[in-house]
Symmetry: C2
Subunit: 207 residues, 2 copies
Amino acid sequence: MTEKQILKSSLKLFNERGYHDVGMREIARELNLSPGNVTYYFKKKDDILFTLLQEYSDQNTTFYEKYHTESASIAGFLGLMKNIFYSQYQYRGVYIGNYIVQKEFQSTDSINYKSTSERRKQTFQKMFTDLRAEGHINANDDDIDFLVSFITLFGRFWISEATIFDKSPDVTQAIKHYIRLLVKELSLFATERGKLSIEQFKKEEFG
Amino acid sequence: MTEKQILKSSLKLFNERGYHDVGMREIARELNLSPGNVTYYFKKKDDILFTLLQEYSDQNTTFYEKYHTESASIAGFLGLMKNIFYSQYQYRGVYIGNYIVQKEFQSTDSINYKSTSERRKQTFQKMFTDLRAEGHINANDDDIDFLVSFITLFGRFWISEATIFDKSPDVTQAIKHYIRLLVKELSLFATERGKLSIEQFKKEEFG
DNA sequence: GTCTATACAAGGATAGAC
DNA sequence: GTCTATCCTTGTATAGAC
């Protein structure tokens, strides 16, 4: 299906050279289409972007849903974050452009990014509260607010740092690095039970 | 001087509406100049950007230098970060665009952003080591690496989060919020002496 | 419904007159 | 040092072939 191919090629090109440096004509050329034909499927270049961001968002939603079927644990939480991180890497070409997300953020006819991001924040709030209830972390409400702020900023921008400051990052290594930072932060609040969960995750993940 | 005025107007417009949505013709109109005259001072639009980033970088360098004349303390460190944060806000129009910094990062004939950012990382490393030596924080080498990674990412992207997700942020409030997060992170490693320094900073800062 | 060809507007960049 | 005129690229819209 042509539409799917356009999305696939676009993402590939965006990842390679960034959203702004890839033109509609180039996307068309990649698929041996006429430029106008790309426009037939996506009236505006931004529409390609929004669709890709929607794909990304949907993919993550399934990760969150999967997490919520298990009982809360730090190991489970770290596994979730790892999945999300890979997803972000996959869509880095559209994800790291703040200017773009800003536009998308302000567009009314598209996904409501603000409410999505607000919802994610509440999701994290609940996750940490659950981790506390399960005896995995030792944190008061203020600590949890801090952790939410931390994970929100960290989870949104690690990929920007990795992509901007490291031209051809080894994905696996990069993600390991950032997951380690996450582990470190969580271990500052972990109970004995939480620490065990972390050790379990580390053993599976880092060997 | 025309060149200074171009820089000033450009930054104002970039801050208001973002780099991409401001055209050369518009910058010219703002100053009642012809578009070609702007080009006389800055051959490319990117050159305006690079010059502004250089200004920003220079301004920060003076903050760092000032900090190093005092003996290390958490309060002093937080004061430094506050200065930097205001500076970042001032230049947010050029600073938050990752795509731009990426280009700048890769350009060879301009400021060497990579070495600058590498140097800043080493600077933070030294700062935390000094804080440990002064008995303000209790941290092993691994902890310090973590703190450096934290401050690097956090200090680079808080402004993106603030600007993207909050259309017209109250600067003072926003900066207070992010400084509080910093305080929280540092207090996890603070010694008794460090905690006193933090209290002192809080009293001066938050009243 | 799919696709090609083409035209148009906006913005960055350049050359040359004054 | 300043300005006008012009070019080129890129996003976007449309008319029409199959």
